[in-house]
Protein backbone atom coordinates (compact mmCIF):
# COMPACT_ATOMS: atom_id res chain seq x y z
CA UNK A 1 0.00 0.00 0.00
CA UNK A 2 1.47 3.34 -0.97
CA UNK A 3 1.89 6.09 1.62
CA UNK A 4 -1.05 8.04 0.24
CA UNK A 5 -3.42 5.13 0.62
CA UNK A 6 -2.06 4.36 4.06
CA UNK A 7 -2.70 7.95 5.09
CA UNK A 8 -6.21 7.78 3.71
CA UNK A 9 -6.79 4.58 5.66
CA UNK A 10 -5.39 6.18 8.85
CA UNK A 11 -7.66 9.17 8.34
CA UNK A 12 -10.62 6.85 7.95
CA UNK A 13 -9.65 5.03 11.17
CA UNK A 14 -9.57 8.36 12.93
CA UNK A 15 -12.95 9.39 11.49
CA UNK A 16 -14.54 6.15 12.61
CA UNK A 17 -13.06 6.37 16.10
CA UNK A 18 -14.12 10.01 16.35
CA UNK A 19 -17.68 9.03 15.42
CA UNK A 20 -17.80 6.80 18.50
CA UNK A 21 -16.79 9.54 20.94
CA UNK A 22 -19.28 12.10 22.24
CA UNK A 23 -18.21 15.74 22.53
CA UNK A 24 -16.45 16.80 25.72
CA UNK A 25 -15.30 13.30 26.63
CA UNK A 26 -12.05 12.63 28.42
CA UNK A 27 -9.94 10.49 26.12
CA UNK A 28 -6.68 8.57 26.41
CA UNK A 29 -4.99 7.47 23.18
CA UNK A 30 -2.36 4.78 23.73
CA UNK A 31 0.38 4.82 21.15
CA UNK A 32 -0.94 8.17 19.93
CA UNK A 33 1.89 8.71 17.43
CA UNK A 34 2.07 12.30 16.29
CA UNK A 35 -1.31 13.00 17.80
CA UNK A 36 -3.44 13.27 14.65
CA UNK A 37 -6.40 11.48 16.21
CA UNK A 38 -6.26 13.42 19.46
CA UNK A 39 -5.87 16.67 17.54
CA UNK A 40 -8.97 15.82 15.50
CA UNK A 41 -10.89 14.95 18.66
CA UNK A 42 -9.86 18.18 20.38
CA UNK A 43 -10.75 20.35 17.42
CA UNK A 44 -14.02 18.70 16.43
CA UNK A 45 -15.29 17.22 19.67
CA UNK A 46 -13.71 19.42 22.29
CA UNK A 47 -12.44 16.38 24.15
CA UNK A 48 -9.96 16.53 27.00
CA UNK A 49 -7.11 14.58 25.50
CA UNK A 50 -4.15 12.63 26.85
CA UNK A 51 -1.70 10.51 24.93
CA UNK A 52 0.97 7.93 25.58
CA UNK A 53 3.74 7.48 23.03
CA UNK A 54 7.27 6.09 23.15
CA UNK A 55 8.78 7.80 20.10
CA UNK A 56 10.60 11.00 21.00
CA UNK A 57 10.03 12.91 17.77
CA UNK A 58 6.33 12.00 17.89
CA UNK A 59 6.18 13.46 21.41
CA UNK A 60 7.52 16.79 20.14
CA UNK A 61 4.92 16.80 17.36
CA UNK A 62 2.17 16.13 19.86
CA UNK A 63 3.31 18.95 22.13
CA UNK A 64 3.44 21.25 19.11
CA UNK A 65 -0.21 20.37 18.51
CA UNK A 66 -0.88 21.52 22.07
CA UNK A 67 -1.54 17.99 23.34
CA UNK A 68 -0.67 16.57 26.75
CA UNK A 69 1.33 13.40 26.25
CA UNK A 70 3.69 11.14 28.15
CA UNK A 71 6.75 9.46 26.73
CA UNK A 72 6.12 6.03 28.17
CA UNK A 73 5.48 2.55 26.87
CA UNK A 74 1.86 1.49 26.96
CA UNK A 75 2.36 -1.36 29.39
CA UNK A 76 3.65 0.98 32.10
CA UNK A 77 1.92 4.16 30.94
CA UNK A 78 -1.51 2.92 31.93
CA UNK A 79 -0.52 2.65 35.58
CA UNK A 80 -0.25 6.41 35.80
CA UNK A 81 -3.95 7.21 35.74
CA UNK A 82 -6.61 7.01 38.45
CA UNK A 83 -9.55 4.60 38.24
CA UNK A 84 -12.32 5.65 35.89
CA UNK A 85 -10.55 8.86 34.88
CA UNK A 86 -11.29 8.57 31.17
CA UNK A 87 -14.53 8.16 29.26
CA UNK A 88 -12.67 6.46 26.41
CA UNK A 89 -9.38 4.63 26.16
CA UNK A 90 -8.16 4.00 22.62
CA UNK A 91 -5.92 1.15 21.54
CA UNK A 92 -5.62 1.70 17.80
CA UNK A 93 -3.08 -0.58 16.11
CA UNK A 94 -1.16 -1.06 19.35
CA UNK A 95 -2.67 -4.06 21.12
CA UNK A 96 -0.69 -6.40 18.88
CA UNK A 97 2.48 -4.56 19.97
CA UNK A 98 2.20 -4.46 23.75
CA UNK A 99 3.78 -7.22 25.80
CA UNK A 100 0.65 -8.20 27.73
CA UNK A 101 -2.44 -7.26 25.69
CA UNK A 102 -4.96 -8.78 28.06
CA UNK A 103 -3.47 -6.97 31.02
CA UNK A 104 -3.30 -3.72 29.04
CA UNK A 105 -6.96 -4.03 28.02
CA UNK A 106 -8.07 -4.73 31.56
CA UNK A 107 -6.02 -1.73 32.70
CA UNK A 108 -7.76 0.23 29.98
CA UNK A 109 -11.07 -0.67 31.58
CA UNK A 110 -9.70 0.30 34.99
CA UNK A 111 -8.85 3.85 33.88
CA UNK A 112 -11.67 4.23 31.36
CA UNK A 113 -15.36 3.43 31.09
CA UNK A 114 -15.18 2.42 27.45
CA UNK A 115 -12.42 1.07 25.29
CA UNK A 116 -11.98 1.37 21.54
CA UNK A 117 -9.76 -1.22 19.91
CA UNK A 118 -8.42 -1.29 16.35
CA UNK A 119 -6.32 -4.16 15.04
CA UNK A 120 -5.27 -5.83 11.79
CA UNK A 121 -7.16 -9.03 11.03
CA UNK A 122 -4.66 -11.83 10.64
CA UNK A 123 -7.25 -14.02 8.90
CA UNK A 124 -7.95 -11.63 6.04
CA UNK A 125 -8.19 -13.89 2.95
CA UNK A 126 -5.02 -12.74 1.11
CA UNK A 127 -3.03 -13.52 4.23
CA UNK A 128 -4.59 -16.97 4.47
CA UNK A 129 -3.85 -17.42 0.80
CA UNK A 130 -0.24 -16.50 1.28
CA UNK A 131 0.21 -19.01 4.06
CA UNK A 132 -1.70 -21.76 2.35
CA UNK A 133 -0.42 -21.50 -1.20
CA UNK A 134 2.90 -19.71 -0.94
CA UNK A 135 4.06 -21.09 2.40
CA UNK A 136 5.04 -17.60 3.53
CA UNK A 137 4.14 -15.67 6.64
CA UNK A 138 1.86 -12.88 5.48
CA UNK A 139 3.04 -9.41 4.64
CA UNK A 140 0.27 -7.14 3.47
CA UNK A 141 -1.27 -3.69 3.74
CA UNK A 142 -2.44 -4.08 7.31
CA UNK A 143 0.62 -6.11 8.30
CA UNK A 144 3.39 -4.47 6.31
CA UNK A 145 6.35 -5.94 8.15
CA UNK A 146 8.74 -8.77 7.45
CA UNK A 147 9.09 -11.22 10.31
CA UNK A 148 12.50 -9.84 11.30
CA UNK A 149 11.50 -6.21 11.74
CA UNK A 150 7.91 -6.43 12.84
CA UNK A 151 6.82 -4.51 15.93
CA UNK A 152 3.91 -6.94 16.21
CA UNK A 153 4.19 -9.45 18.99
CA UNK A 154 0.68 -10.90 18.76
CA UNK A 155 -1.44 -11.97 15.83
CA UNK A 156 -5.18 -12.22 16.06
CA UNK A 157 -8.26 -12.47 13.89
CA UNK A 158 -11.66 -10.84 14.23
CA UNK A 159 -13.03 -14.13 15.57
CA UNK A 160 -10.17 -14.48 18.05
CA UNK A 161 -10.92 -11.09 19.45
CA UNK A 162 -14.68 -11.62 19.64
CA UNK A 163 -14.03 -14.92 21.47
CA UNK A 164 -11.79 -13.05 23.85
CA UNK A 165 -14.50 -10.44 24.49
CA UNK A 166 -16.94 -13.22 25.28
CA UNK A 167 -14.58 -14.84 27.75
CA UNK A 168 -13.73 -11.55 29.46
CA UNK A 169 -17.32 -10.33 29.68
CA UNK A 170 -16.75 -7.45 27.29
CA UNK A 171 -19.65 -6.15 25.24
CA UNK A 172 -19.02 -5.09 21.67
CA UNK A 173 -21.15 -1.97 21.35
CA UNK A 174 -20.08 -0.97 17.88
CA UNK A 175 -18.10 -2.68 15.17
CA UNK A 176 -16.45 -1.50 11.99
CA UNK A 177 -14.69 -3.81 9.56
CA UNK A 178 -12.56 -2.29 6.87
CA UNK A 179 -10.66 -3.26 3.78
CA UNK A 180 -8.62 -0.21 2.85
CA UNK A 181 -11.11 2.62 2.81
CA UNK A 182 -14.06 0.29 2.13
CA UNK A 183 -16.39 -0.88 4.86
CA UNK A 184 -16.97 -4.67 5.05
CA UNK A 185 -20.29 -5.92 6.37
CA UNK A 186 -20.31 -9.51 5.26
CA UNK A 187 -17.88 -12.27 6.39
CA UNK A 188 -15.55 -9.85 8.17
CA UNK A 189 -13.18 -12.51 9.47
CA UNK A 190 -12.41 -13.42 5.86
CA UNK A 191 -12.85 -10.10 4.12
CA UNK A 192 -11.76 -7.40 6.59
CA UNK A 193 -8.23 -6.12 6.74
CA UNK A 194 -8.85 -4.26 9.93
CA UNK A 195 -11.38 -4.13 12.75
CA UNK A 196 -12.38 -1.22 14.95
CA UNK A 197 -14.55 -2.15 17.92
CA UNK A 198 -16.16 -0.11 20.65
CA UNK A 199 -16.21 -2.09 23.90
CA UNK A 200 -17.79 -1.78 27.29
CA UNK A 201 -17.68 -4.00 30.31
CA UNK A 202 -20.83 -5.04 32.10
Amino acid sequence: MNPEKRQAAARLDNRIIASLIPPGSRVLDLGCGEGDLLDLLVREKGVIASGVEIDEEAIYRCVEKGLSVSRLDIDSGLDDYPDGFFDYVIFNQVLEQVIHPRQALLQGFRVGRRVIVGFPNFCHWPLRFRILFRGRVPVGPALPYEWYDSPNLHFLSVKDFLDFCGREGLTVESRFFLAGVRRVRFLPNLRARKAILGLSRS
Partner: protein, 402 residues
Protein backbone atom coordinates in the same frame (compact mmCIF):
# COMPACT_ATOMS: atom_id res chain seq x y z
CA UNK B 1 0.70 21.59 9.48
CA UNK B 2 3.49 23.02 11.56
CA UNK B 3 6.98 22.94 10.19
CA UNK B 4 9.33 21.01 12.41
CA UNK B 5 12.71 21.90 11.01
CA UNK B 6 12.68 25.53 11.85
CA UNK B 7 15.90 27.33 12.40
CA UNK B 8 17.86 26.23 15.39
CA UNK B 9 17.36 29.20 17.63
CA UNK B 10 18.35 29.48 21.20
CA UNK B 11 20.81 26.66 21.00
CA UNK B 12 23.74 28.87 21.79
CA UNK B 13 24.42 32.11 23.51
CA UNK B 14 25.06 34.69 20.89
CA UNK B 15 23.27 37.18 18.75
CA UNK B 16 19.60 37.52 19.46
CA UNK B 17 20.03 37.19 23.21
CA UNK B 18 19.05 39.66 25.89
CA UNK B 19 22.18 41.78 25.79
CA UNK B 20 23.19 43.55 28.99
CA UNK B 21 21.17 42.86 32.12
CA UNK B 22 21.57 43.77 35.76
CA UNK B 23 20.91 42.15 39.09
CA UNK B 24 18.55 44.05 41.35
CA UNK B 25 17.94 43.79 45.05
CA UNK B 26 14.72 43.49 47.01
CA UNK B 27 14.72 43.89 50.78
CA UNK B 28 11.75 42.13 52.39
CA UNK B 29 9.63 44.80 54.10
CA UNK B 30 9.76 43.05 57.49
CA UNK B 31 11.36 40.13 59.28
CA UNK B 32 10.95 36.75 57.63
CA UNK B 33 9.80 33.74 59.58
CA UNK B 34 11.32 30.46 58.43
CA UNK B 35 9.35 27.21 58.44
CA UNK B 36 11.48 26.12 61.40
CA UNK B 37 10.06 29.00 63.43
CA UNK B 38 13.30 30.96 63.45
CA UNK B 39 12.95 34.57 62.32
CA UNK B 40 15.43 36.38 60.13
CA UNK B 41 15.35 40.10 60.95
CA UNK B 42 16.47 41.08 57.50
CA UNK B 43 16.27 39.28 54.17
CA UNK B 44 17.55 40.60 50.88
CA UNK B 45 16.78 38.89 47.57
CA UNK B 46 18.92 39.36 44.48
CA UNK B 47 16.87 39.04 41.32
CA UNK B 48 16.76 39.76 37.63
CA UNK B 49 13.82 40.13 35.27
CA UNK B 50 13.66 39.82 31.51
CA UNK B 51 10.86 40.87 29.20
CA UNK B 52 7.81 42.93 30.10
CA UNK B 53 4.96 42.16 32.46
CA UNK B 54 1.75 42.27 30.43
CA UNK B 55 -1.03 44.72 31.41
CA UNK B 56 -3.10 41.71 32.53
CA UNK B 57 -0.11 40.48 34.57
CA UNK B 58 -0.68 37.02 33.18
CA UNK B 59 2.66 36.31 31.55
CA UNK B 60 5.09 35.98 34.48
CA UNK B 61 7.36 32.95 34.60
CA UNK B 62 9.62 32.27 37.55
CA UNK B 63 12.78 30.29 36.84
CA UNK B 64 14.55 28.65 39.77
CA UNK B 65 18.26 27.96 39.84
CA UNK B 66 20.17 24.86 40.87
CA UNK B 67 22.80 24.42 43.59
CA UNK B 68 25.46 26.66 42.10
CA UNK B 69 23.27 29.06 40.14
CA UNK B 70 22.22 32.58 40.93
CA UNK B 71 19.84 35.35 39.90
CA UNK B 72 21.83 35.96 36.73
CA UNK B 73 20.03 33.47 34.49
CA UNK B 74 20.38 35.17 31.12
CA UNK B 75 22.02 37.99 29.21
CA UNK B 76 25.39 39.51 30.07
CA UNK B 77 26.58 41.56 32.96
CA UNK B 78 28.63 44.54 31.83
CA UNK B 79 32.18 43.56 31.00
CA UNK B 80 31.59 39.82 31.33
CA UNK B 81 32.15 37.35 28.53
CA UNK B 82 29.96 34.56 29.90
CA UNK B 83 26.18 34.93 29.89
CA UNK B 84 23.79 33.82 32.64
CA UNK B 85 23.42 30.13 33.45
CA UNK B 86 20.26 29.55 31.40
CA UNK B 87 20.94 32.01 28.59
CA UNK B 88 20.39 29.26 26.02
CA UNK B 89 16.84 28.98 27.29
CA UNK B 90 15.85 32.58 28.07
CA UNK B 91 15.65 35.34 25.50
CA UNK B 92 13.78 36.40 22.38
CA UNK B 93 12.60 33.29 20.52
CA UNK B 94 14.06 30.94 23.08
CA UNK B 95 12.26 28.39 25.28
CA UNK B 96 11.25 31.16 27.68
CA UNK B 97 10.57 33.76 25.04
CA UNK B 98 11.15 37.19 26.54
CA UNK B 99 9.12 38.76 23.73
CA UNK B 100 6.11 37.02 25.25
CA UNK B 101 6.87 36.40 28.89
CA UNK B 102 8.07 38.30 31.90
CA UNK B 103 10.79 36.07 33.30
CA UNK B 104 11.83 36.37 36.94
CA UNK B 105 14.98 34.79 38.37
CA UNK B 106 16.14 35.12 41.98
CA UNK B 107 19.07 33.92 44.04
CA UNK B 108 17.85 31.52 46.73
CA UNK B 109 17.73 32.22 50.43
CA UNK B 110 20.93 30.80 51.89
CA UNK B 111 22.81 31.64 48.71
CA UNK B 112 25.86 33.84 48.34
CA UNK B 113 25.15 35.77 45.19
CA UNK B 114 23.30 38.75 46.57
CA UNK B 115 20.58 37.06 48.61
CA UNK B 116 20.79 36.65 52.36
CA UNK B 117 22.85 33.66 53.41
CA UNK B 118 25.56 32.56 55.84
CA UNK B 119 28.03 35.09 54.39
CA UNK B 120 25.65 37.99 55.05
CA UNK B 121 26.12 40.15 58.14
CA UNK B 122 23.95 39.19 61.09
CA UNK B 123 22.10 42.41 61.98
CA UNK B 124 22.49 41.51 65.68
CA UNK B 125 26.29 41.47 65.60
CA UNK B 126 27.22 43.17 62.34
CA UNK B 127 29.46 40.19 61.56
CA UNK B 128 28.82 37.44 58.99
CA UNK B 129 26.48 34.72 60.24
CA UNK B 130 28.67 31.76 59.39
CA UNK B 131 27.16 28.68 61.01
CA UNK B 132 24.90 30.78 63.23
CA UNK B 133 22.76 31.25 60.10
CA UNK B 134 19.67 29.11 60.60
CA UNK B 135 19.14 26.00 58.50
CA UNK B 136 16.92 26.80 55.53
CA UNK B 137 14.73 24.54 53.44
CA UNK B 138 13.52 24.49 49.86
CA UNK B 139 10.17 25.65 51.29
CA UNK B 140 11.87 28.70 52.83
CA UNK B 141 13.44 29.52 49.48
CA UNK B 142 10.01 29.32 47.88
CA UNK B 143 8.38 31.44 50.59
CA UNK B 144 10.87 34.21 49.86
CA UNK B 145 10.32 33.86 46.11
CA UNK B 146 6.58 34.25 46.73
CA UNK B 147 7.17 37.56 48.48
CA UNK B 148 9.40 38.74 45.64
CA UNK B 149 6.84 37.74 43.02
CA UNK B 150 4.09 39.62 44.85
CA UNK B 151 6.37 42.64 45.21
CA UNK B 152 6.78 42.59 41.43
CA UNK B 153 2.99 42.89 41.12
CA UNK B 154 2.30 39.29 40.13
CA UNK B 155 -0.55 37.50 41.90
CA UNK B 156 -0.52 34.40 39.77
CA UNK B 157 2.45 33.04 37.87
CA UNK B 158 1.94 31.55 34.46
CA UNK B 159 4.62 28.99 35.27
CA UNK B 160 7.45 28.10 37.59
CA UNK B 161 10.33 26.26 35.96
CA UNK B 162 13.71 24.93 36.98
CA UNK B 163 16.12 22.04 36.83
CA UNK B 164 17.75 19.98 39.56
CA UNK B 165 17.33 21.89 42.85
CA UNK B 166 15.36 24.40 40.78
CA UNK B 167 12.93 21.58 40.01
CA UNK B 168 12.52 20.94 43.73
CA UNK B 169 11.50 24.56 44.16
CA UNK B 170 9.03 24.11 41.31
CA UNK B 171 7.49 21.12 43.09
CA UNK B 172 7.38 23.03 46.35
CA UNK B 173 5.46 25.82 44.62
CA UNK B 174 2.94 23.18 43.61
CA UNK B 175 2.66 21.95 47.18
CA UNK B 176 2.73 25.28 49.01
CA UNK B 177 1.15 27.74 46.55
CA UNK B 178 -0.84 25.74 44.01
CA UNK B 179 -3.31 28.60 43.55
CA UNK B 180 -0.56 31.04 42.65
CA UNK B 181 0.71 29.19 39.62
CA UNK B 182 -0.96 27.87 36.47
CA UNK B 183 1.78 25.49 35.38
CA UNK B 184 4.84 23.74 36.74
CA UNK B 185 7.90 22.73 34.75
CA UNK B 186 10.13 20.51 36.92
CA UNK B 187 13.22 19.42 34.98
CA UNK B 188 15.76 16.69 35.81
CA UNK B 189 14.71 16.64 39.44
CA UNK B 190 13.36 14.47 42.25
CA UNK B 191 10.63 14.59 44.86
CA UNK B 192 13.30 13.61 47.36
CA UNK B 193 16.90 12.55 47.36
CA UNK B 194 17.88 8.91 47.45
CA UNK B 195 20.74 7.67 49.62
CA UNK B 196 23.03 7.89 46.58
CA UNK B 197 22.15 11.52 45.97
CA UNK B 198 22.61 12.41 49.64
CA UNK B 199 25.92 10.54 49.64
CA UNK B 200 27.40 12.68 46.87
CA UNK B 201 26.34 15.85 48.67
CA UNK B 202 27.83 14.58 51.92
CA UNK B 203 31.19 13.96 50.27
CA UNK B 204 31.07 17.57 49.10
CA UNK B 205 30.25 18.85 52.57
CA UNK B 206 32.96 16.75 54.16
CA UNK B 207 35.46 18.10 51.64
CA UNK B 208 34.57 21.65 52.73
CA UNK B 209 34.51 20.92 56.46
CA UNK B 210 37.77 19.00 56.45
CA UNK B 211 39.62 21.97 54.98
CA UNK B 212 41.54 23.53 57.92
CA UNK B 213 40.69 26.95 56.50
CA UNK B 214 37.01 26.29 57.09
CA UNK B 215 37.40 26.88 60.88
CA UNK B 216 33.91 25.74 61.80
CA UNK B 217 32.48 28.14 59.24
CA UNK B 218 34.11 31.19 60.78
CA UNK B 219 36.54 32.09 58.03
CA UNK B 220 35.16 35.40 56.80
CA UNK B 221 37.84 38.06 56.54
CA UNK B 222 40.44 35.31 56.42
CA UNK B 223 41.53 32.67 53.94
CA UNK B 224 38.46 30.84 52.59
CA UNK B 225 38.38 27.01 52.51
CA UNK B 226 39.07 27.02 48.79
CA UNK B 227 40.69 23.57 48.61
CA UNK B 228 37.73 21.89 50.22
CA UNK B 229 35.15 23.76 48.19
CA UNK B 230 37.03 23.08 44.96
CA UNK B 231 37.14 19.39 45.82
CA UNK B 232 33.39 19.41 46.51
CA UNK B 233 32.83 21.00 43.14
CA UNK B 234 35.00 18.40 41.43
CA UNK B 235 32.90 15.58 42.86
CA UNK B 236 29.77 17.45 41.87
CA UNK B 237 30.97 17.90 38.31
CA UNK B 238 31.53 14.18 37.87
CA UNK B 239 27.90 13.58 38.77
CA UNK B 240 26.71 16.20 36.29
CA UNK B 241 28.31 14.43 33.33
CA UNK B 242 27.74 11.00 31.86
CA UNK B 243 30.20 8.29 31.05
CA UNK B 244 29.65 8.95 27.37
CA UNK B 245 30.00 12.70 27.57
CA UNK B 246 33.22 12.33 29.57
CA UNK B 247 34.52 9.75 27.15
CA UNK B 248 33.75 12.01 24.22
CA UNK B 249 35.14 15.13 25.86
CA UNK B 250 38.29 13.67 27.40
CA UNK B 251 38.67 9.95 26.82
CA UNK B 252 42.17 9.09 27.99
CA UNK B 253 43.66 12.26 26.54
CA UNK B 254 46.77 13.29 28.44
CA UNK B 255 47.97 16.72 29.49
CA UNK B 256 51.35 17.90 28.20
CA UNK B 257 54.13 16.15 30.11
CA UNK B 258 55.08 17.75 33.38
CA UNK B 259 58.17 17.02 35.41
CA UNK B 260 56.06 16.28 38.47
CA UNK B 261 55.88 13.21 40.63
CA UNK B 262 53.43 11.42 38.38
CA UNK B 263 50.56 12.83 40.42
CA UNK B 264 50.31 16.16 38.68
CA UNK B 265 47.53 16.66 36.14
CA UNK B 266 48.19 13.64 33.96
CA UNK B 267 44.85 13.34 32.17
CA UNK B 268 42.70 15.99 30.53
CA UNK B 269 39.75 15.08 32.71
CA UNK B 270 41.83 15.89 35.78
CA UNK B 271 42.68 19.31 34.37
CA UNK B 272 39.01 19.92 33.60
CA UNK B 273 37.87 19.05 37.11
CA UNK B 274 40.59 21.16 38.73
CA UNK B 275 39.70 24.06 36.48
CA UNK B 276 36.01 23.77 37.36
CA UNK B 277 36.86 23.51 41.05
CA UNK B 278 39.14 26.53 41.03
CA UNK B 279 36.74 28.64 39.05
CA UNK B 280 33.90 27.78 41.39
CA UNK B 281 35.64 28.94 44.58
CA UNK B 282 36.09 32.39 43.13
CA UNK B 283 32.36 32.95 43.03
CA UNK B 284 30.89 30.71 45.69
CA UNK B 285 30.82 30.74 49.47
CA UNK B 286 31.70 27.45 51.16
CA UNK B 287 29.09 27.83 53.90
CA UNK B 288 26.39 28.49 51.31
CA UNK B 289 27.43 25.22 49.71
CA UNK B 290 26.79 23.46 53.02
CA UNK B 291 23.45 25.15 53.65
CA UNK B 292 22.11 24.64 50.15
CA UNK B 293 23.17 21.00 49.80
CA UNK B 294 21.61 20.35 53.21
CA UNK B 295 18.37 21.97 52.05
CA UNK B 296 18.41 19.75 48.97
CA UNK B 297 19.00 16.60 51.01
CA UNK B 298 16.28 17.51 53.50
CA UNK B 299 13.77 18.17 50.74
CA UNK B 300 11.18 15.40 50.79
CA UNK B 301 7.65 15.73 49.49
CA UNK B 302 7.22 11.98 49.68
CA UNK B 303 7.31 8.90 47.56
CA UNK B 304 4.57 6.55 46.38
CA UNK B 305 1.18 7.29 47.97
CA UNK B 306 2.69 10.06 50.11
CA UNK B 307 3.86 11.87 46.99
CA UNK B 308 0.44 11.47 45.41
CA UNK B 309 -1.05 13.05 48.53
CA UNK B 310 1.53 15.85 48.54
CA UNK B 311 0.52 16.84 45.02
CA UNK B 312 -3.19 16.56 45.71
CA UNK B 313 -3.87 20.24 45.07
CA UNK B 314 -2.59 20.03 41.52
CA UNK B 315 -5.76 18.75 39.88
CA UNK B 316 -6.34 20.68 36.65
CA UNK B 317 -2.92 22.35 36.93
CA UNK B 318 -0.64 21.87 33.98
CA UNK B 319 2.70 20.13 34.41
CA UNK B 320 5.52 19.60 31.98
CA UNK B 321 7.95 17.11 33.48
CA UNK B 322 11.27 16.79 31.64
CA UNK B 323 14.04 14.23 32.18
CA UNK B 324 17.18 13.29 30.24
CA UNK B 325 18.09 9.79 29.20
CA UNK B 326 21.72 9.86 30.39
CA UNK B 327 21.10 11.72 33.64
CA UNK B 328 22.19 9.27 36.32
CA UNK B 329 22.21 11.84 39.13
CA UNK B 330 18.49 12.56 38.69
CA UNK B 331 17.48 9.59 36.55
CA UNK B 332 14.26 9.68 34.49
CA UNK B 333 12.61 7.22 36.86
CA UNK B 334 12.43 9.99 39.46
CA UNK B 335 10.76 12.34 37.01
CA UNK B 336 8.36 9.59 35.95
CA UNK B 337 7.31 9.22 39.55
CA UNK B 338 6.55 12.94 39.76
CA UNK B 339 4.56 12.82 36.51
CA UNK B 340 2.67 9.77 37.71
CA UNK B 341 1.77 11.30 41.08
CA UNK B 342 0.49 14.40 39.29
CA UNK B 343 -1.55 12.32 36.83
CA UNK B 344 -3.08 10.32 39.64
CA UNK B 345 -4.23 13.70 40.98
CA UNK B 346 -5.91 14.47 37.67
CA UNK B 347 -3.41 17.10 36.70
CA UNK B 348 -2.87 17.86 33.02
CA UNK B 349 0.57 16.31 32.59
CA UNK B 350 3.10 16.06 29.80
CA UNK B 351 6.10 13.87 30.49
CA UNK B 352 9.02 14.11 28.12
CA UNK B 353 12.24 12.15 28.37
CA UNK B 354 14.75 13.83 26.08
CA UNK B 355 17.49 11.68 24.59
CA UNK B 356 20.85 13.20 25.42
CA UNK B 357 24.41 12.15 26.22
CA UNK B 358 25.04 15.18 28.40
CA UNK B 359 24.06 13.63 31.73
CA UNK B 360 22.51 15.89 34.37
CA UNK B 361 24.05 18.94 32.66
CA UNK B 362 21.61 18.33 29.80
CA UNK B 363 19.06 20.61 31.45
CA UNK B 364 21.50 23.48 30.90
CA UNK B 365 22.65 22.39 27.46
CA UNK B 366 19.83 20.77 25.47
CA UNK B 367 18.16 24.04 24.61
CA UNK B 368 16.57 23.13 21.28
CA UNK B 369 14.67 20.06 22.49
CA UNK B 370 13.52 21.89 25.60
CA UNK B 371 12.45 24.87 23.54
CA UNK B 372 10.31 22.62 21.38
CA UNK B 373 8.29 21.44 24.33
CA UNK B 374 8.43 24.42 26.69
CA UNK B 375 7.51 27.19 24.25
CA UNK B 376 4.34 25.48 23.05
CA UNK B 377 3.44 24.28 26.54
CA UNK B 378 3.58 27.88 27.79
CA UNK B 379 1.50 29.16 24.88
CA UNK B 380 -1.22 26.60 25.53
CA UNK B 381 -1.11 27.32 29.25
CA UNK B 382 -1.58 31.00 28.63
CA UNK B 383 -4.47 30.43 26.26
CA UNK B 384 -6.19 28.13 28.75
CA UNK B 385 -5.70 30.42 31.76
CA UNK B 386 -7.09 33.31 29.70
CA UNK B 387 -10.14 31.19 28.92
CA UNK B 388 -10.51 30.03 32.52
CA UNK B 389 -10.26 33.65 33.62
CA UNK B 390 -13.51 34.34 31.79
CA UNK B 391 -12.13 36.68 29.17
CA UNK B 392 -12.91 36.06 25.55
CA UNK B 393 -9.62 34.38 24.85
CA UNK B 394 -7.68 37.58 24.28
CA UNK B 395 -4.70 38.88 26.18
CA UNK B 396 -6.63 39.55 29.36
CA UNK B 397 -6.49 36.95 32.07
CA UNK B 398 -7.37 36.12 35.60
CA UNK B 399 -3.89 37.13 36.74
CA UNK B 400 -4.99 40.74 36.51
CA UNK B 401 -7.94 40.38 38.84
CA UNK B 402 -7.62 41.14 42.48
Amino acid sequence: MKKIDREKRGSSAGPGGLGTVETKSFRLPGPHRLRSGVTLAEVVVAYETYGELSPGKDNAVLVCHALSGDAHAAGFHPGESRPGWWDRMIGPGRAFDTDKYFVISANVLGGCRGSTGPASPDPATGKPYGLSFPLVTIADMVDVQKKLVNFLGVEKLLAVAGGSMGGMQVLKWGVAYPDSVAALIPIATAARHTALQIAFNEVGRQAVMSDPDWRGGDYYGQKAPARGLALARMVGHITYLSERSMERKFGRLRRPKTNGSGFAEEFEVEGYLRFQGDRFVRRFDANSYLYITRAIDNFDIGSGPALVKALSRLSDRRLLVIAFSSDWLYPPVQSKEIARAAKLNRADVTYCEITSDAGHDAFLLEAEEQRRVISRFLEVTRKRTARAGGSSGGEEAEGGKR
